[in-house]
Subunit: 308 residues, 2 copies
Amino acid sequence: MSPAWIAVDWGTSNLRVWAMDDSANILGQASSSQGMNAIAADETLSFESVLIGLIENWLDDGYANRLPVIICGMAGAKQGWLEAPYCSVPVHPAKLAAEAVIPDVDDRRIAVSILPGLKQVDDPDVMRGEETQLVGFMAVHPGFDGWVCLPGTHSKWARVFDGTISAFRTYMSGEVFALLSSQSILRHSVDDRWDDAVFEATIRETANQPTGFLHKLFTVRASGLVGNDRVANEPGAAVLSGTVIGTEIADMISMLAPGAKIALIGDGKLAGLYRKALAVHGVDADIVDSASITLAGLGAAYRVIHKK
Amino acid sequence: MSPAWIAVDWGTSNLRVWAMDDSANILGQASSSQGMNAIAADETLSFESVLIGLIENWLDDGYANRLPVIICGMAGAKQGWLEAPYCSVPVHPAKLAAEAVIPDVDDRRIAVSILPGLKQVDDPDVMRGEETQLVGFMAVHPGFDGWVCLPGTHSKWARVFDGTISAFRTYMSGEVFALLSSQSILRHSVDDRWDDAVFEATIRETANQPTGFLHKLFTVRASGLVGNDRVANEPGAAVLSGTVIGTEIADMISMLAPGAKIALIGDGKLAGLYRKALAVHGVDADIVDSASITLAGLGAAYRVIHKK
């Protein structure tokens, strides 16, 4: 196997690497739990040693040139390998690639580039990692004009048009859901039970009273206590999830032009819930798989940086 | 000292007792950290033994009759001393007192009554303890027609008119603030710094975009990262507090008739913040001290139960 370059997605808690050829074929892949936090917590580890440990058997001492390695994510954070300062929106993908930073490496077999994150100065906001998914999305869907949503711990909504990312908006929905369901009084009311109809009804309620978040939360607790048969056995997880996602989507929808296009980048259950919630608002959103999109974004950066 | 009765406020984490005469004078007081949770966690403790331990030196073996003890709060919860089932709104204070429950006690010197909490079946909600503050408020302000707000871990807003509590609404504001400032990514952005002007500006922003809670939270984190001089040094605590309290108040205000009267029951800094936030909305709210109000509520129940 002789890869043309190596793609790396280095998150807070995970590291994923792919050996790529020049036609975007995946020749090999590997992953580890040595995300930024694990490396910061263990002084015997360095970003370079962890990376080499994972890709060692893809490297060949006989290369004439160093093998390009393109990294997105937390390796570029202040607490990461080498800080890649945020680029301001509006921004074109080529500019993001051009502002990649190059850390010193001891291993002469690799040439490492770390991509920057994105920032928005007015209505302050930042992202690091998701911008590469957006670039991948734009590469696969040239001419897209609308909003791209990346659900997650910190959900991101980005305005994409004319080949540019012009603005974005983060919601702390995933983190707030996790805290409330595990650390708050609501933990007693959230278990493994789920009901799609209850989730959708909650999305509708939230659409009708989109300012009531902090109150609606408490009804998750109170519903089982008041002897109201209609709500007594509603699964708390579906009400809590519907309240959090519904509040995010109601706010976002209020800022969109009627008929605005929305695409979801994600995988599994969460993106499906966002799709259901958007459908309640009459919006039909497509789901795009996030792993292939990250690779497409790293590939676009690879071609800019290495002039292919 | 010979008290006519004993007032008890038994919360989740605290227990407060007062020796009272028949003219509402306080003859003595004591408190401990043996709230409901501490008793539940230690099988050597019982509610009766903890209570007697705290009031022992107010009791006299020579009483002709048992000394009345009136308790509000978590002693009446399902996990408490004896469950006092919730009363439904609308409710008159006398009805709350009439539905007090009487636990068996081994000590023949006391006659214990535990007051019920309040529930609302439609728009499910519950309170336990605050209803006694509301009763005290109504005793001190007969004829009040408006909303009474009790800020706290779970803020309560109650509609009071015609001598009746007709509806109420809980907001999880205090608990959400505590979780976000200590357990979320925002903990890095919240410290001891504070700025009233930033708090008030955040209340104004939240009034203008009352649906944006989950997004506005993230700006607490992002403000220091994007190089926006206007917000770079804003104290995160003031922005977070303004976002949480502002979201609660914007939702509540949207449901009030113009000119509706609002009273705040509380003490110290938190009630002051609610007062400031309401002033941003053009509402002038009076603050009523919560300790004396609790006593007034327990006293009103004492007079109903013991026919004074």
